[in-house]
Symmetry: C2
Subunit: 936 residues, 2 copies
């Protein structure tokens, strides 16, 4: 421990600086910094964190040297503030607050008005000329001190605060309802009653000696470093216990000493929108807590803000000016000073500040400044504008924006007031997982075919079931690949089962659809086309609103607005110059592109998704799932014909019909991705996913195929699997039915040849899924290569192509050195890799994973953020072993993790070349990749 | 390459020895060795493997030095044999054979009778005094040479051998049917025709110069090292291509030169039973190939053997002595000599030998000796007896017995002749996987309840459905835990689905039941209680025989015999002294126990299994599955009550009823395992496995529980999982319902306390399944510890216990350092670990894994032998990381791999402390562990 235990601040000079956070805590360092900037701060001093540590090391005793240093500091405060601690004419009163290195808001204790006793009270009355005010301060101090220092807590959870009880009794006895109606005499009685209560319960007298009060308070603040709340908070936030807290002792100033007093909080920019405007609220003749508590309607600091507020609150200018004048109007000099200070502070800290101030008898005191919390939308705007203003550099700006927050710029939004009104009216039906951010509102439809049919009818301008259909909310227990077109037709997807990476959530995000998933409260009855939550019934065609950002499901319609960025970039319904948001978005991402090392690709299956993804900056396709194409139009019939074929010849007949369809799909995709690599995965899902399952559907298909329904049912049943996730899927399909792989390879290479002939540059990368053994890959590689060479030879076209594999099984990662012999690239399929590494089926996890959350067994959802210790370790092993065999092997990730910022950082560190994610997450990944590069 | 390219052998002296296999190949080295032992071998020489390598390195040309060395060796052979190569009075004829370092039977080419031409033919006629014999040799030589050296192969797969065609035409033209009826003249004509055919097809003359013949043959043998068959065989057996083959050139001797000639093969002990008796077959006036080909009935070498053979073939002693005399009778001097040689050879090689011999004009020549192939049964007997005879030491004996072969000693067996008769009569129905070795025969039953009821009735001596029931074959599409008691009631289990480690196979092996699994040809119709294969129908009650050693399913009954070892050791129906097999079994395993380091535990759930396992030498229980107990008696009702309870209170009521039942289970097990550790796994399978699924069963249960069937169906459906393997099971159950874990812990510890009070030493090890994150284990550990301390305190008993976990998920292995903080032991659950590492569900693998076998994608079934590169790597990582955190952590394996010899070797190398396997595999694991220790 250093010799210097106490750091004074006051007047124009502080002994500390902002750089001394470890020693003085964040609050102490910032107070010192403000003083050094020439900003008026009530004088005071900081007892260092080292003292806290020593206090705990020495059986909760203060170091001997402390007392002298504190007394010396008090003398300097007295001199600066012109009042004397414990004086009975003009007493110096103090606040005693904690202040740790890292912010731990509300976790530790505070004592205000310290120094008051029966003698100094007289001085406070004299100075304030307000007996009621002085007694109120006194009884507040006794209550706070009694609570924090003397242990006057409620004795059980159901008991009230003992001082609160006396206070309420006094109000009742006085026949008053509101606090400020209590008379000075009544408060004086309370002072006596409070002291009696302390004596009675603790057997100790309330200390009249100011220094005794001070040492009690300092000890209590140190002790609160180890209270339950603080310990838990530190555990949750990884704050070491041995950091300790500093204690800030500071002269009290009062915003409630009369009408020339005030108190307020302000942000140097709008914390919701990020707009560069001074934004603050204050109250005349009030204490800081009154502003925050919301018991009185706070007034706006600026005149502009005040007028805007009045307008939205429906208050006339006359009334506003009279009842709610701005600080700018009411105390113009103070306001001018404040404006200067906020500019000084923002410029100094180079970030948006959250400040607290008090006006005591017309004199402005700054009590606190810190970086202000803000919405992601605001963070983004502030970061970009501060670069334009020259306050920060581009890299700092990039680090200031939470990548996930970019989502807010891309999603349609509910009119928040309209939503609140709906909730107030009891229209909140249930809450689920906020799986696909954004807002969607439309009519409920319970199956995918209906959704598609209705959408088509609506597009033709027809009515369906007598109603003009517009937006649709598709409600399913869960979704499967055959629901794809229905999902595409809907604006929002709501499921009763499934997690954040369930099929519904995954596809919805890829499609940019709003999705609320795993909403367990819903009881869906397909046969009646209705769902229930308790006694509320929602029928097909009813209006429903789902908020994918919050997980709320609300009865009836709420208005939505498309985001500006999407209008400009994707829908192209607005010109770029019309949107500042768009311009800032492009600006920020262009900076990100300058520094990131990871490339960002997209997961896309259709040309329109390619267009969206390229608009968002995708540098290729990392995953094109061919099976989604199998559900388009009438193809599913041909697919089923292929699956149900009795022999290879039958399968090949059906595949021959599918070939031109797939080829045209790929041509469409190659055309949109001109010049960029396109990774196409061969067929992956188990074949039974393509077959009907209900008796009715089977009957229909049997009729169509001219088969007895019983025979078809048997065939469908024979394809049933106990654990389809671990069954006949992935490359296992292509190995058993090489003709399927051959058809897909042919479609890819014929499309490549056709595109090359049109002058389009194609870079196909054929990806074999679910490889666990190198020989699986060599088997499929041979099939693909044979077709490629045949197509090249026949068409005389030259195109380059790669053949690689998903690494999505633990064994693939563990034997990546062997697999790399046959692979030009690896793409880590971290969705399935997480499922197999954890042994958890995403489809079934909702029965226990939420409880794991309650029990804090998982730090995070491993399907959302990659699990570094387990799944991540396999990725590292895979990269390491793959590169050992083939140093130039291309490695990427195509699981949903590719769009998760924390996982992108992991991918950067693991040495991957690219991440791939759904189109709407491309910007997020670009920013996250930039942050990873800047951090690493 | 060394200077010496050719190694001569002949007379009493050879230049090579048995130790020169790498240079001379196995055959050449053994021929040399025999000479050195003073055994008469036709003289010859070996061209080294180095020449083969040089030949390939030098564009298929022979080294210059070779010719001189060969000519010199030929001269020595001529001198030794007293005949001259190419001579027209007494020509030396040669055989030219390949001989690689490792045996590659039949893969490469051979030429016999080399040295014959139109001149030397005269000499052969003169010497043999048999014109027909000489011409037959000549035409055989031309055909063989034409084929091997001159490329006279059939031109397509459907074409016949060109010489064969001429030969058949000649027989037809001569009006004869049998080969030996062709006259010398006819054969002489064929010689001309063969030569014409060669000239016509190849444009080349058949070479008359003996040396030209020789160089052609040597080159052809070298070339055959790279023929397709040989290349494939080497790939399959990991034989390096650069080893090359040696060429053995040896003087021909003839067993077909008259009635004082003979040829035969013999084993120094019985290769089927291992009995120490000289066992051989021979033919008079015949070539070696005649004995093997089976065209003539071979005669027995020994008189004893001959009489036994005649008896089983139903031939009178008179007829035998006349038509099929033994060599012992026919050529007593030769026999005496032969007997001496075989003893010399067996003593020299210290192993049972497979020898070939030829008698030419009354003179015995030995042509080959090698370690003889034998059944596991024979291997075991020979090994033990050779130790008793002082031929080998115990460790050598241990290495000689394939551990899996011990199974043959434990399983009931079919009467092989009766089975063959059945197959001959067309009663073979189908073939499946040989999942549970042994033979079972009984009446077919199609569901577990029937099996149980019928068994009970049979035990009471009652008839069922009018028939006296005895043994039962339970036939199911697949089995599940609820079939356990039915499986126990049956003698054999036959399933249509599932692999070698399917539930049926696993439980069957643990129970020691015969099982044929995954017999895909069966079409089972439960409702009609019948199954079909093609037009064959098997109905309930029909007799069926299944051979779990071969996978055969045979209609009707075949007699079975219980094994001697089981009679003595398990059934105790025979005294130990009655069975030599048993005594040898115990002997061998006692040797194994002396050297092995791995302990062997068993997987057992019931006291009777414990008894069996201890009889087989188990050193504890490595896995006691508590869920099997849940199906006993009426318990399933209480289990269902627990599962269907609406709340915790309801569950606890049901659990309270289960507690005494589980406690008494554990008491029974602890009592049988007195003094040995017992690892008990808490509840593992998903709860829906305990619920009924058919409408009828649900209705019955609903009535019993007083619930509306619809409500029950909904509850059952709500527990349905898409991928139950990856669902709500293992510790996830105990975490969501801690009261289940608490009940099981209480049952364990109350049982422990009760047993300790009875003087039984208990060592319970509580094992938490499916842990993937350390916090899952700490959660469950806390529940178990709390109960343990409570029981200890209340009962005042002191018992030690451990708490550990299965490592059966990749993540558990990868984070074993973290998990070890909470685990006293690890038990690798390699069944599930293989499923998750490969991403393969055992229940669903039959659709593609058999095809993988055909395509040689997997070297072996990873569920049978641990996959060292993937799953094994995880085991190694788990052991390494676990020991890093807790150096004394106990590590074992409880997957089915624990009973697989190759996997036991892996476990030994990975540093595990024990393996655990089903009771009947305990002896196998003991032996395998000994072999691992001896190897490592």
């Amino acid at each position: 421990m250093a010799d210097k235990l106490v750091y004074y601040f006051g007047g124009q000079k502080a002994e500390g600086t902002a750089g001394m956070k470890n020693l003085l805590g964040g609050k102490g360092a910032n107070l010192a910094e403000m003083i050094n900037l020439g900003i008026p701060v009530p004088a005071g001093f900081t007892i260092t964190t080292e003292v806290c540590t020593a206090y705990y090391e020495n059986e909760e005793k203060f170091p001997e040297e402390l007392e002298a240093q504190v007394r010396e500091a008090i003398a300097r405060v007295e001199a600066e503030m012109g009042s004397v601690f414990g004086d009975n004419t003009d007493p110096l009163l103090l606040s005693v607050r904690s202040g740790a290195r890292a912010s731990m808001p509300g976790m530790m204790d505070t004592v205000l008005n310290l120094g008051l006793n029966d003698e100094s009270l007289k001085g406070l009355i004299a100075r304030s000329e307000d007996r009621r005010f002085a007694y109120d301060c006194y009884r507040r101090f006794i209550a706070m001190y009694g609570d924090v220092v003397m242990g006057m807590k409620p004795e059980s959870k159901i008991e009230h605060d003992p001082f609160e009880v006396l206070y309420e009794a006094k109000k009742q006895a006085s026949g008053v309802e509101l606090d400020h109606e209590l008379s000075a005499d009544a408060l004086a009685e309370l002072v006596v009653e409070y002291k009696d209560a302390i004596r009675k319960r603790t057997g100790q007298e309330f200390p009249e000696d100011p220094y005794a009060q001070l040492w009690g308070a300092v000890g209590a603040v140190f002790s609160s470093w180890h209270n339950d709340r603080a310990v838990k908070y530190r555990e949750m936030n990884d704050i070491p216990a041995d950091w300790g807290t500093a204690v800030n002792v500071q002269a009290m100033v009062y915003g409630n000493m009369g009408s020339n007093c005030a108190t307020g909080v302000a942000f140097t920019r709008d914390p919701a929108t990020g707009e560069r405007r001074f934004f603050g609220e204050y109250l005349v003749n009030a204490q800081g807590e009154d502003v925050v508590a919301g018991t009185r309607t706070p007034q706006q600091v600026t005149l502009v803000g005040s007028r805007l507020w009045a307008e939205s609150a429906g208050i006339s200018e006359e009334e506003r000016a009279k009842r709610y004048p701005s600080l700018e109007e009411l105390m113009p000099e103070v306001y001018e000073q404040l404006e200067g200070f906020y500019q000084t502070l923002e410029t100094h800290y180079r970030d948006m500040q959250d400040i607290e101030f008090t006006v005591q008898n017309g004199r402005l005191w700054m009590l606190q400044t810190r970086n202000g919390k803000r919405t992601a939308f605001a963070a983004f705007r502030i970061a970009v504008e501060m670069v334009e203003e020259g306050l920060i550099d581009k890299n700092t700006a990039l680090m200031r924006v939470p990548p996930d927050g970019l989502n807010q710029l891309l999603q349609p939004v509910f009119d928040s007031e309209d939503k609140q009104r709906a909730i107030d009216k009891g229209r909140l039906l249930a809450k689920g997982l906020n799986a696909g951010p954004g807002a969607a509102c439309g009519r409920v439809v319970f199956n995918a075919e209906d959704a598609e049919a209705w959408k088509k009818a609506a597009d033709r301008g027809e009515k369906v079931v007598g109603v003009k259909w517009d937006n649709l909310i598709l409600v399913r227990v869960e979704t499967s690949p055959e629901d794809i077109r229905g999902m595409d037709a809907a604006d929002g997807i709501l499921t009763a089962r499934g997690g954040m990476t369930s099929h519904a959530a995954l596809v919805a995000r890829q499609m940019g659809k709003v999705c609320v998933a795993g909403c367990g409260a819903l009881q869906i009855d397909y046969s009646r086309r209705e769902m229930r939550v308790g006694d509320k019934v929602v029928r097909q065609g009813d209006f429903l609103s789902i908020d994918g950002t919050t997980g709320e499901v609300i009865l009836g319609a709420i208005e939505t607005l498309p985001s500006e960025v999407v209008q400009v970039l994707v829908e192209k319904t607005a010109p770029p110059e019309s949107s500042e948001v768009y311009q800032r978005f492009e600006m920020l991402l262009s900076w990100a592109d300058e520094v990131r090392r990871l490339k960002v690709r997209t997961n896309a299956d259709q040309p329109d998704q390619c267009v969206t993804a390229r608009a968002f900056g995708a540098q290729g396709i990392g995953l094109c799932r061919t099976e989604h194409m199998f559900f388009e139009g009438d193809r599913i019939d041909t697919v089923r014909e292929m699956i149900l074929a009795e022999d290879q010849a039958g399968r090949e007949r059906a595949l021959a019909k599918l070939l031109p369809m797939q080829q045209s799909d790929f041509e469409g995709i190659f055309a949109e991705m001109d010049g960029l690599p396109v990774t196409i995965r061969t067929l992956d899902p188990p074949l039974h996913e393509f077959l009907p399952h209900t008796d009715k559907e089977i009957k229909a298909l049997a009729t169509q195929l001219g088969l007895p329904p019983k025979q078809l049912r048997e065939k469908v049943d024979s394809l049933h699997e106990t654990n389809p996730m671990l069954g006949h899927r992935g490359c296992r399909l292509g190995i058993v039915f090489p003709e399927i792989t051959a058809m897909q390879a042919r479609a890819i290479f014929e499309a490549a040849a056709a595109c090359e002939a049109r002058g389009i540059q194609v870079l196909p990368e054929v990806m074999i899924p679910l490889v666990g053994h190198v020989k699986e890959l060599s088997n499929q590689r041979a099939v693909v290569e044979k077709v490629a060479e045949e197509v090249k030879g026949r068409t005389g076209t030259k195109f380059d192509y790669l053949i690689g594999t998903m690494i999505e099984l633990p064994r693939a990662a563990l034997t990546a050195d062997e697999i790399a012999r046959e692979a030009d690239f690896f793409s880590f399929g971290t969705n399935d890799l997480t499922q197999t590494t954890y042994g958890i089926s995403r489809d079934d996890m909702n029965r226990f994973v939420p409880i794991y959350g309650d029990l804090k067994i998982y730090d995070h959802d491993p399907f959302q953020t990659i699990d570094a210790a387990g799944v991540g370790r396999l990725v590292e092993i895979g990269v390491e072993k793959g590169k050992a065999t083939r140093p130039d092997i291309k490695v990427g990730i195509c699981g949903e993790h590719g769009g998760d910022p924390a996982s992108v950082v992991f991918c950067h560190r693991a040495g991957l070349h690219y991440v791939s994610c759904s189109p709407f997450r491309v910007p997020i990944a670009r920013l996250a990749a930039a942050q990873a590069a800047l951090e690493g």
